[in-house]
Subunit: 152 residues, 2 copies
DNA sequence: CCTGTTATCGCAACACGTTGCAGGAGCACC
DNA sequence: GGTGCTCCTGCAACGTGTTGCGATAACAGG
């Protein structure tokens, strides 16, 4: 649709071919759907939206394409508090996620905030945390303030 | 078997009954198996070990019992880097986990280390992280030092 | 020990991914 | 526009959990 957004993905086809990989209608569809997201989507949602446009979409093709795109750096995935795969489109900066177990809200941790997290781990354990794959579960300020756990 | 360890679980039966819940052979078996672990076990492993002792064990019973035990505070669960459920038995202190994506090793983050992580988040976002549910993926010191990613 | 209540069990079906395989399609080269 | 290599697709089966439902069994009370 919007020419600007499409250009973001314009390089994908050539990058695939340059790697000896192929540009297929299925991959085009998946990219179209990813392009139309707000930057976050679960695997199941993505499959569902592709099927809405093409009934013949199969999950294995979608998930395998996601693997390829992640290998090229176009997307990243992490796991929600419930353990489900969540894909992050075009992560301009590596960022982690905070997920509230009461209201289900999600906040992004930018690079600066993330550094505050991973630096102590690096210093203590020599362990380099993979921020892009990180989802921290807990309770947000609003939910913590309300006694029952109901919020939003 | 060992009397000391069994005593750790001795209260479970009474706690269940006090809550209007029931003590069944299936739950006893699951507790026996949990007791024999080193404190960490995945859902699939637990089902498998129960089936090794009783072929009639069904997954739904195991997972539902795990929910009950978690509600009583006897176990906690988090998700591995691959998104699989991992159960932590009798967490005397809340602790998080570091998981190396190269060698698969897991390290525990004790309460002090965890505090270094969650305090900045609390201060910045008012978000109370759930340390017991946290697994951070990344690369350990040994694997980071080896160029290829092979280690251990 | 009997009885009634109801938590729990086992089954079957579903949800979310992953993997092996054989045939079809993309692409580079001529 | 052919040709051939091989990546990719779609299918089917599997792995890991989760959920609805009818039947069973635990347990409190008489």
């Amino acid at each position: 649709m919007t020419a600007e957004m499409s250009q973001v993905w314009a390089g994908v086809r050539d990058r695939l071919r340059a790697s000896g990989l192929r540009w297929t209608p299925q991959r085009q569809l998946i990219l179209d759907v990813l392009e139309a997201t707000d930057g976050h989507i679960t695997g199941a949602e993505l499959v569902e939206r592709c099927r809405a446009r093409d009934r013949d979409t199969t999950p294995s093709t979608v998930y395998r394409t996601l693997d390829v795109l992640e290998g090229l750096g176009y997307i990243r995935h992490s796991h929600s508090a419930a353990g489900r795969a969540e894909f992050h489109v075009l992560p301009e900066v590596e960022h982690g996620h905070l997920e509230c177990r009461s209201c289900g809200g999600v906040w992004e941790l930018d690079a600066d905030d993330a550094a505050k997290l991973i630096d102590p781990i690096q210093a203590t354990f020599g362990f380099t945390a993979d921020v892009g794959h990180l989802t921290i579960s807990g309770r947000c300020a609003s939910c913590a303030a309300s006694p029952s756990g109901e919020e939003t």
